[in-house]
């Protein structure tokens, strides 16, 4: 405690002896941390947006299928609508919405072309809460009821088929007894999304699909979306318990790419942190080494007065800790203000094609968990002080004679 009273004033006053250098270090630390935190918030937003884009397409938070469906998604691997037990497990506040779907491989045919795709029989009303496709209708309109006989195709697929809203296409799929079911549909609407999605999916009313495939009230999948804040793992476990004999999977397993992007973004934030930190470290070491060399006489004097080398080390280190600490606080204030100012969203419309390609939406909502914000700031401070050990050791281990000989 006494030691602190001894070195704190000395360290603090020494900081302000060369205001220019002190300012440089402050700026280096503040700008470095600012870029780390703002970048982290943006990347986080990007990761979330690309995850949402993926999950909002059709996946949801997780899905339930008959065993074997995911390996071979054919009409035979279907299941009955959820029984009372599973229904009870799904109708809880943690599950915001769930839908049943028929989902089978099919072939679509126009006068010009025959193309493979996935036919989805959906409940249009419920689907809106899970997927954003119903709201992305570019032409025509979306399905209305469970028995809607029309079909909604992707915009790009329609171009390839040379068809348009109001015209007819033929869909073929294997039905329940193994023969080929075939049905003509009127194109009711065209949805816009990324090209893969536009080429892959066709939607009709769930009852229309069930009738065409001859599967009664059988379904292929249940997709559910959890309420925000509900933890995924325990919910999956709970649903697994309620859905004996069925296959319950979280989105991370259903959409491994989105999961990979997610962990990649997190890794990237830390890579960026290290890159920025190397720059900061160079700045800190440079300025602090200069500070130490300039004051070599003073350290010699302190040693002559009987200050132990370890105490000199502590004093110089404290100087760095204070300086870097102030820089970190500036960086936190500036980045906090920036993230707050951008919370309403950053519109990336101008590079929308690129963003869509990676799978993100157009608008990013930067945010950073408070814990992450403080953790990273603290980490930068600690690392900065560790780096400053180098100049501090130089000061403490300068030989007193050599230091004092500068005096004459």
């Amino acid at each position: 405690m006494e030691t602190f009273k001894l070195i704190v004033p000395l360290a603090w006053r020494s900081l302000w002896r060369n205001p220019r250098r002190t300012a440089i270090t402050l700026v280096v630390v503040a700008v470095g941390l600012y870029s780390i935190l703002v970048f982290a918030a943006l990347l986080d937003a990007w990761a979330q947006s690309s995850r949402d884009a993926q999950l909002n397409l059709l996946t949801g938070s997780g899905q339930i299928h008959a065993k074997g469906y995911l390996d071979d998604p054919v009409v035979d691997r279907r299941m009955p609508p959820p029984g009372a037990k599973l229904r009870a497990a799904l109708d809880v506040p943690q599950v915001r919405e769930w839908v049943e779907r028929v989902r089978v491989p099919a072939v679509v045919q126009s006068e010009y072309k025959t193309l493979p795709l996935t036919l989805l029989g959906v409940k249009p009303q419920a689907e809106r809460a899970i997927s954003f496709l119903p709201s992305q209708i570019a032409e025509g309109s979306y399905l209305i009821g469970n028995a809607d006989p029309g079909i909604v195709l992707g915009r790009h697929l329609a171009q390839r088929l040379k068809t348009r809203v109001g015209k007819r296409v033929i869909l073929m799929a294997q039905n329940a007894d193994g023969s080929l079911a075939q049905r003509a549909f009127q194109v009711k609407g065209l949805f816009a999304s990324n090209q893969t999605a536009e080429d892959s999916y066709a939607f009709t009313g769930i009852e229309t699909a069930q009738k065409m495939l001859g599967i009664g009230n059988g379904i292929s999948e249940i997709s559910f979306r959890l309420a925000s804040g509900a933890a995924l793992a325990p919910e999956i476990a709970r649903l697994r318990a309620a859905a004996a004999g069925l296959d319950v999977k979280p989105w991370k397993l259903l959409a491994p790419l989105a999961a990979a992007v997610d962990s990649f973004m997190t890794a990237f934030v830390y890579i960026w942190l290290w890159v920025m930190f190397v720059f900061m470290a160079i700045g800190i070491v440079n300025t602090q080494l200069m500070a130490v060399f300039e004051r070599v006489r003073e350290f010699g004097l302190l040693q002559a007065l009987g200050m132990r080398p370890s105490l000199i080390l502590a004093q110089v280190l404290l100087e760095s800790a204070l300086l870097i600490g102030v820089g970190v606080v500036f960086g936190m204030i500036a980045s906090g203000a920036t993230i707050f100012a951008l919370r309403g969203g950053v519109d990336l419309g101008f590079l929308a094609r690129g963003a869509e390609f990676i799978g993100a939406g157009h608008v990013l909502y930067p945010h950073l968990a408070l814990s992450e914000f403080f953790e990273m700031s603290f980490l930068v401070w600690v690392l900065g002080v560790v780096i400053a050990l180098w100049p501090a050791r130089k000061a403490a281990h300068s030989r007193p004679v050599e230091a004092m000989s500068h005096a004459t």
Binding site: R13, E298, G300, L302, A304, L305, G306, P400, A407, T408
Partner: protein, 242 residues
């Protein structure tokens, strides 16, 4: 009033002390097999031409530098075996330094510079303040407590340095050219001050110097040439020089 050097308790003892610097292939014997005793209460001037080894010797006695060979003992403690931390401890308790210039910590006021040493010794705030203020008064600088070194004249800075060197009641004060940067009036005053403090407190002084004023006031005059003591005169002889 004439201390008998041979019988008096020796504060500093040097035995066969050498310091050899290698300048490329050439060896420089800055201090060359030197024997010296400094008795308690002495007020000794160490003179000699430039490069004769005065600073090197003072630094070795002060534990700022280590001899190439030989032993230095300060107040009964052999310095050769001590670690850097122990040497610092020894300087803190037993040795006061006054250098030619840059004696003061620039960010501390005159009073704080003196208090600093007491703080290192772990003395509490109240006593620290009183002792530092008294030390400043002893060197005639009452009223200058709050001044930073940059706002003190060279002579005043040296006085603060002397006050600081004495405040911890060391066994010996080592001064290296304390008057070299001062005008003759300030130099005179500083020498008188040191002589007076020596007489009053009995603190031992060993002063490396070229300054005739210092040599004139010293009770003992040690002369060095090429790292060796060539003459060592005490008391009356010094008075004769005067």
């Amino acid at each position: 009033m004439q201390p008998d050097t041979s019988d008096a308790h020796a504060i500093v003892t040097c035995r066969g002390v050498s310091k050899i610097y290698a300048h490329g292939a050439v060896e420089v014997r800055a201090v060359d097999g030197l024997d010296l005793d400094v008795a308690a209460g002495d007020f000794a001037a160490l003179s000699g031409p430039s490069g004769s080894g005065k600073t090197t010797l003072l630094n070795m006695i002060g534990g700022l530098d280590r001899p190439t060979s030989g032993t230095v003992t300060v107040d009964g403690e052999d310095l050769s075996g001590l670690s850097a931390a122990h040497l610092a401890e020894l300087r803190l308790h037993k040795i006061g330094f006054v250098f030619q210039a840059y004696n003061l910590i620039p960010v501390l006021s005159a009073l704080e510079n003196i208090e600093f040493v007491l703080q290192l010794l772990g003395i509490d705030a109240k006593e620290r303040h009183d002792r530092a203020a008294a030390a400043l008064a002893d060197v005639g600088l009452t009223g200058m407590e709050e001044r930073r070194p940059s706002h003190l004249s060279g002579g005043q800075q040296q006085r603060v340095a002397v006050a600081r060197a004495l405040v911890a009641r060391p066994a010996i004060v080592l001064a290296d050219e304390p008057t070299a940067n001062l005008d003759s009036k300030s130099a005179d005053d500083l020498v008188s001050l040191m002589a007076e403090l020596n007489a009053r407190s009995g603190t031992t002084f060993l002063i490396g110097t070229h300054d005739a004023r210092v040599i004139a006031r010293a009770r003992r005059h040690i002369e060095m040439i090429d790292g060796k003591i060539t003459s060592d005169t005490t008391g009356d002889l010094a008075d004769v020089v005067q």
